[in-house]
């Protein structure tokens, strides 16, 4: 455990720092003193209103979404034994979006959108994993192709829903799709989902280490592979769905964060899980702060920022992977 201590201290500081920056910058910049006094005393000034009513809820959503997405990515990577798996690339987020959007287009609210997002995520994950499964293993190129094609299919459905929707909610739906956490009230259930998800995966973390070495080896070491896989399927789609409800489809966080952490601390999931949550949260919070400040007063959709970081990273990773293992 102690060998990872420096990393966890760094990640905790990074998380605190990303919150601090998010609290500080914006249309009115706040100093460190203003932030601390707003957080820890009760003087009802403008700084306090800005932080408690605008920046803190938004920062929390961004952080929680980042944590959810990178944890979901990590779980999918174990499930597929492939570092390229990510809820966005495999079309899971878009599937979730389609059903959530359908619910919105039908004028439904609240739990119906949540239920739609969850059903969509589960449906997508089953489709992608089921279709690309051959002879007890997932072939990476087949998997990526299936994911891309299914994502394209969902994309068409999204276009269909958008083109048949009335004008008034359209702009909101569009921004939501691109990944946007503006004007959304924080959903406490997402924070709860992140905490429960983290605890559950931590409880089975060592089994994940064993599972990543293949079904046979895992079974031989006493892991009941099938129930574990089903748990992972459900967890990964749940986490994705909660992220989608909060922020639409934000891409690549689930790919970048676990990969970078593996390079630093190796593949022990007992460390990777908490580290992914902290690092994913910080990265998305920083991205969101960028999204609302780069061309202020206008806001960029969050998905645009993560794609700018994620696409080059993914291409690099793909290239590196296929170099090492051209035909696999």
């Amino acid at each position: 455990m102690h060998k990872a201590l420096p990393l966890f201290i760094t990640l905790t500081l990074l998380s605190a720092l990303s919150f601090l920056i998010a609290f500080s910058v914006g249309s009115i910049n706040l100093s460190f003193d203003q932030i601390t006094s707003a957080l820890f005393s009760n003087n009802k000034d403008i700084a306090q209103t800005i932080i408690w009513e605008l920046r803190a809820p938004r920062a929390t959503i961004a952080f929680v979404t980042g944590g959810l997405l990178s944890l979901a990515g990590l779980l999918m990577q174990v499930l597929l034994r492939n570092p390229l798996a990510d809820p966005y690339i495999l079309g899971i987020s878009s599937g979730s979006s389609v059903l959530a959007l359908s619910a919105m287009a039908l004028g439904l609210t609240g739990y119906w959108i949540t239920a739609g997002a969850f059903t969509g995520a589960l449906l997508s994950i089953l489709l992608v994993f089921g279709l690309s499964h051959r002879n007890g293993s997932w072939n990476p190129s087949r998997l990526l192709l299936t994911g891309v094609v299914i994502a394209a299919g969902w994309g068409a459905m999204i276009n269909f829903i958008l083109s048949t929707s009335p004008d008034k909610p359209l702009r909101g739906m569009l921004f939501w799709l691109m990944g946007d956490i503006n004007n959304i009230t924080p959903e406490p259930s997402s924070l709860v989902a992140l905490i429960i998800g983290t605890l559950v995966t931590l409880a089975i973390a060592r089994q994940l280490n064993i599972l990543s070495r293949g079904d046979l080896q895992a079974t031989a070491l006493g892991v009941s592979v099938k129930p574990l896989r089903i748990t992972l399927f459900l967890l990964a789609s749940c986490l994705t769905a909660f992220a989608v409800i909060q922020a639409g489809s934000v891409g690549f966080i689930g790919l970048i964060v676990p990969h970078m952490l593996r390079l630093i601390i190796g593949s022990d999931h007992r460390l990777l899980i908490p580290a992914s949550v902290l690092a994913g949260g910080s990265l998305l919070l920083i991205s969101d702060t960028l999204a609302r400040t780069i061309i202020a007063p206008q806001q960029l959709p969050l998905g645009v920022i993560t794609a700018f970081i994620g696409v080059p990273f993914f291409l690099y990773l793909l290239n590196k992977n296929f170099d090492r293992n051209p035909l696999k």
Binding site: M1, Q77, R81, N82, P83, A203, I204, R206, Q207, N209, I210, S212, R213, G214, L216, Q217, T219, A220, L221, G222, V223, S224, R262, L263, G266, S267, D268, R270
Partner: protein, 255 residues
């Protein structure tokens, strides 16, 4: 009480019979070699013995209790297998890989303790990989990776060791030293060793018992001195075998 007892075991892969009502009592302290031609089902048999494969008829009794009645995690405390293929999709050090052998003994929230770490270190010592402990398994040669697999099994330290072609990729010196380790450890510590081998002469040198699978569902099993004859080997490999007397033991060569 026999450690592992196979009763009327019938196995087939793709309509091809591996064995037809196999009956063997495996006792602690024995070292069994399984010989047979490619594709005869040696791996299938080993996988069935440790319940990685569950399609068979007949009974496999582990310490007088049917294997079907065991929990997966309890089987892993009694039986361990070195598989032919390894998957290492993510970077992981040699030491961490070997330490996974302790998994069956550790509760969900627990971490490996000092004793577990000692066992892993000792196993690395036996396979002479101590210097490469921090190396990533993705960067090993085939023979080094094989030694890591064997070290993982040594760390697991079950009652029954199943080895599926332990010699593959191994240099001559490691073939001898590792087979020597497994057979003498089994003999002195009341363990059972069952291994698939390709080399008749290594089998004759290290095994106390042999199981020959002839490919038509028939088999020959027993102490090595009863089973290892040129005739039986010819029947198994469908190739004439020449037996040469040497001072220590007989040498078998394809004619």
């Amino acid at each position: 009480m026999s450690l592992l007892c196979v009763q009327n075991l019938s196995l087939s892969i793709a309509n091809k019979k591996v064995c037809d009502s196999l009956n063997i009592e495996f006792e602690a302290g024995q070292s069994w070699g399984v010989l047979g031609r490619n594709g005869v089902g040696k791996t299938t048999l080993l996988h069935s013995l440790c319940h990685l494969r569950t399609e068979y008829s007949g009974d496999i009794m582990l310490q007088d209790k049917n294997l079907q009645q065991y929990k997966r995690s309890d089987i892993a405390k009694l039986m361990g297998i070195q598989l032919q293929h390894n998957e290492d999709p993510f970077p992981s050090s040699v030491f961490d890989t070997v330490l996974t052998g302790r998994h069956p003994y550790i509760a969900n929230w627990q971490w490996e303790n000092e004793a577990d770490i000692c066992k892993a270190k000792a196993a690395l010592d036996i396979v002479e990989m101590t210097e490469l402990a921090e190396r990533s398994v993705n960067q090993l040669s085939g023979g080094e990776r094989q030694r890591v697999s064997l070290a993982t099994l040594i760390t697991q330290d079950p009652k029954i060791f199943l080895l599926d072609e332990p010699n593959s990729h191994l240099d001559l010196n490691y073939q001898i030293s590792l087979l020597d380790h497994f057979t003498s450890y089994s003999r002195t510590n009341e363990r059972l060793l069952i291994m698939n081998l390709h080399d008749i002469n290594l089998a004759s040198r290290f095994c106390s018992h042999l199981l020959l699978l002839t490919g038509d569902g028939h088999y020959l099993a027993g102490p090595v001195e009863n089973i290892l004859t040129a005739d039986n080997l010819e029947l198994t490999f469908r190739h004439p075998i020449e037996q040469i007397q040497s001072p220590d033991r007989n040498i078998y060569l394809p004619a």
